[in-house]
């Protein structure tokens, strides 16, 4: 069998850790090869080596059977290797064509030959079913479209091997389906794909083979069709993982959070949430299901105080908190695991210990008379890190920036749970995390529920909503479509309601 890429016995060491320990990966022509591993397992390092960003300490790379040395990304490009990064590298006020030709601008005399470039992009777009308009500006297109622009960028440079780095992390469910179709088209046309991911469902759906690495070591390469999801998860995490969230019947108590007829303006100054009323009781998890941007953010920000309310009321344990300050709401018993952990959840240039007291630094024992108590902060942090399995190179003194995504998230979850809140709001608490961490965080949410707390879970992952919630509220276009019991519903019903179809309206 002919291999387009062979990475043999690759070893890469960084100060303190062995990121890749004797890892081999072989990519057949025309296959989709998944590279799977937990956060921090060494996937990105391995691919950075293939893309020329790092040099391996040991091992060799062969492209089409010929041994090569990839000293920088330009060499990788010349060898036909292209990477679709997780965070797109696009100029927003440029057109799609201008972005694609950036760096290899075709010239006609002294002027840019945009026309022929656009024509070629149109042809590529047709050939691979990408549906890209060459003259549209990046700032006007969706995230899914931006990703396709990145793909065409690679195709335009004649890439034979495409590396996708966690491509679905930023996409909506619908866009994910489109992307899968595109990937199938690409391999049908003779391209080869390496798909970096930790989402088993996607691997099952598109990949031919799957290489699993764990903590820098190769676990094995398996045939996807012949391997069960559970088996792959086990290979990745190193133990058996349960996909079903283990939980007992909920025992709802008194009403903790009550939202009455709430309307909120979104950042475009139109109503993002229209007259929403719902309540969350102690001892239950209320899930909010909906496609991204249908009022979830507005709802959460209104409850936490991050945005102003247009009309309506928010009550916490019968106390009106509609006009309280953010800090006052936290003190009243609201904890919030924010959607964007790097933007809102953490101060990346602060250490973990400084981050762990982000809401409580001004309370005794963490400070007294305006002076911080380092020892108290350290003890508190050590406790959270131990209880929530937060791993960091230099313990409590590590900068938040240096932690892997999963550990950053666990730290935030730990911090919020440790506030011992009446109401825990978790927004996308497992976004971009591996199955091991997801399982862990779900357990913690259920644990809060069982302690008699109220949990409000917002997630774009329907599976997560269905698995974890006791009741599900569905929002669409800023309106509450309905509330259903998780035990009595299914993916179809919730999916329909997410599309704005009210219960009983269909059929």
């Amino acid at each position: 069998m002919e291999y387009v890429v062979e990475m043999l016995n690759i070893r890469k060491e960084f100060p303190g850790i062995i990121a890749n320990d004797n890892i081999s990966l072989e990519l057949k022509k025309g296959e989709i090869h998944a590279l799977m591993g937990e956060n921090g397992a060494g996937k990105s390092t391995l691919m950075s080596i293939l893309f020329g960003l790092y040099q391996p300490d040991n091992g060799s790379i062969r492209i089409k059977g010929k041994e090569v040395r990839i000293s920088n990304p330009n060499v990788a490009n010349d060898l036909g290797i292209g990477m679709v990064h997780q965070h797109f590298k696009l100029v927003h006020n440029f057109t799609i064509t201008e972005n694609i030709i950036l760096g290899i601008e075709p010239k006609k005399g002294l002027t840019l030959d945009l026309k022929s470039a656009a024509e070629r992009i149109r042809l590529l777009s047709e050939q691979y079913g990408l549906n890209v308009d060459p003259y549209e500006k990046i700032e006007n297109v969706s995230v899914g479209m931006q990703q396709r622009v990145e793909i065409i960028k690679m195709l335009y440079r004649n890439a034979e091997v495409l590396i996708f780095d966690e491509p679905t992390a930023v996409l909506t469910p619908h866009e994910i389906l489109d992307l899968m179709k595109i990937m199938k088209n690409l391999v049908a046309e003779g391209k080869s794909i390496i798909l970096i991911t930790h989402k088993l469902k996607e691997i099952k759906a598109v990949a031919d083979r799957c290489t699993v690495i764990r903590r820098g070591k190769l676990v094995g390469t398996v045939d996807v069709a012949a391997t069960s999801e559970a088996r792959m998860a086990e290979m990745m995490v190193g133990r058996q993982v349960s996909f079903q969230v283990d939980k007992s019947e909920s025992k709802p108590g008194e009403i903790i959070l009550q939202v009455e007829n709430l309307s909120v303006l979104n950042h475009r100054k139109v109503l993002g949430l229209k007259g929403c009323s719902l309540d969350v009781r102690s001892g239950e998890i209320l899930g909010i299901a909906g496609v991204e941007g249908n009022g979830q953010t507005e709802l959460v920000e209104a409850i936490t105080g991050l945005t102003r309310i247009e009309s309506g009321k928010v009550l916490l344990k019968e106390q009106d908190i509609t006009h309280l300050l953010i800090r006052e709401r936290i003190e009243a018993g609201i904890a919030h695991i924010p959607e964007d952990r790097q933007k809102r959840g953490l101060v990346l240039d602060y250490t973990i210990e400084e981050n762990m007291v982000l809401e409580v630094y001004d309370r005794v024992p963490f400070s007294n008379k305006g002076l911080l108590d380092r020892d108290a902060i350290r003890n508190y942090t050590d406790k959270i890190m131990k209880n929530f399995d937060v791993r960091a190179g230099e313990g409590a003194e590590s900068f938040a920036r240096t932690l892997s995504g999963g550990n950053q998230q666990k730290a935030i979850v730990g911090r919020e749970v440790e506030l011992n809140p009446e109401l825990l709001i978790a927004v996308q608490p497992t976004r971009g995390l591996d199955v091991g961490s997801i399982e862990y965080i779900h357990k913690r949410l259920v644990e809060q529920r069982d302690k008699g707390k109220a949990v409000l879970l917002v997630s774009l992952e329907l599976d997560e909503i269905l698995n974890v919630s006791d009741r599900i509220a569905i929002v669409s276009n800023g309106e509450l479509i309905g509330i259903v019991n998780a035990a009595e519903t299914n993916e179809n019903e919730v999916g329909l309601m997410m599309a704005g179809v009210r219960k009983g309206e269909s059929n």
């Binding site: 602060y350 250490t351 630094y361």
Partner: protein, 355 residues
């Protein structure tokens, strides 16, 4: 967090040190081009700043306003603000102090604290305005602090001749009485007649206090959180706008105090038509000092040494004093590109490991 301080500052110190070395090397090249011997040139430069007790005192006095303006800029930087208006704040602070010194016939022991208070308030008010405009209307502080520079420039241009006209010159104020000056006999004697004064101690005290505020207090924690990530600060319920105003106020107070050390310390009157260049040098000081209070102090002392030695160098051999300014500029350049130096350090360290 004690460790963080060590870890971060060791690296910054290396980078600053290299920036200084590169700056001096570039300066050596310039001296050589003008036809002099770089070694003799530098020998005279450092001699000029250090060769006698008096000159050491002068160097310290020259550094004093730089310490405070550097501290002002560094403090604002730490909280995510670019205070480019230290000049105007110094001028305003210095003017307020001078005005108090010339108006109130009080004994030294009461007058000096009042002058200092006036300087701090003058500088603080001058910075609160941009702080407020940033917090309330999102006006960028670079624009508004520069604007405030010119407002203070023209206020002093008008007010000094109108109310505090000098005996001989229209362009400067009367000299302040001895009781209003930061110069004290014992210090002047200690340094053999140098113009070093109590301002130095105020500057050192300010460095200590600011370092303490930033590293140990709830206030410093909030200010830095807002500076590093205002979205996370907002999420945690920290009042972002209040902290922006507070940060500018403290930065302005520091610059105002720096102005006092200039106009009622090093000098004894205030001139019109000059925005003190020390305010802008504060940006370079903060940069070289990696925005840390202690780092800024050392950077200011070094700049002070260059400034006070350049005259001597010029007098002894034919090197124009502009060369010293060029060296300073080169060092600033290297400090500003500290990312490159950091990368160089990493590369060297990496090579050593690999082989």
């Amino acid at each position: 967090m004690k460790l963080q301080f060590k870890k971060g500052s060791a690296k910054s110190a290396v980078v600053a040190f290299l920036a200084v070395i590169f700056g001096l090397l570039a300066g050596a090249l310039l001296i050589a081009v003008t036809g002099s011997d770089p070694f003799t040139g530098y020998a005279y430069l450092f001699k000029g700043g250090l060769m006698s007790t008096e000159r050491i005192g002068d160097t310290l006095a020259t550094s004093t306003p730089l310490i405070l303006s550097g501290l002002s800029v560094a403090f604002a930087f730490k909280t995510g603000l670019f205070n480019i208006g230290a000049s105007g704040q110094m001028l305003m602070g210095g003017f307020c102090a001078t005005a108090v010194g010339l108006t109130l016939p009080l004994p030294f022991i009461i007058l000096l604290p009042l002058e200092i208070l006036a300087a701090i308030m003058g500088g603080a008010i001058w910075a609160v305005v941009p702080g407020f405009m940033k917090a309330r209307f999102n006006v960028h502080e670079v624009v508004s602090t520069i604007m405030m520079n010119w407002i203070s420039y023209w206020i002093i241009y008008y007010a000094v001749p109108a109310y505090f006209k000098g005996q001989f010159l229209e362009t400067e104020s009367r000299a302040i009485p001895d009781a209003a000056s930061m110069k004290v006999n014992w210090l002047t004697h200690l340094f053999d007649g140098s113009f070093v004064n109590l301002g130095l101690f105020l500057a050192i005290a300010a460095v200590m206090i600011i370092a303490f505020i930033l590293n140990r207090t709830v206030m410093g924690y909030e200010l830095k959180a807002v500076g590093y990530n205002r979205f996370a600060a907002e999420y945690a319920g920290i009042n972002v706008n209040r902290n922006i105003v507070l940060s500018m106020m403290i930065a302005g107070a520091l610059a105002g105090l720096g102005g006092a050390t200039m106009y009622i310390g090093n000098a004894s009157n205030i001139q019109i038509g000059i925005l003190p260049s020390q305010g802008f040098d504060g940006i370079a000081v903060a940069l070289l000092g990696a925005n840390s209070p202690l780092g800024s102090m050392f950077a200011a002392l070094f700049f002070g040494l260059l400034y006070s030695g350049k005259g001597f160098m010029n007098a002894m051999i034919q090197i124009p004093p502009e060369i010293a300014d060029t060296i300073i500029a080169t060092i600033i350049y290297f400090a500003a590109t500290s990312v490159l130096i950091e990368r160089l350090v990493n590369m060297l360290r990496f090579r050593k490991r690999g082989q």
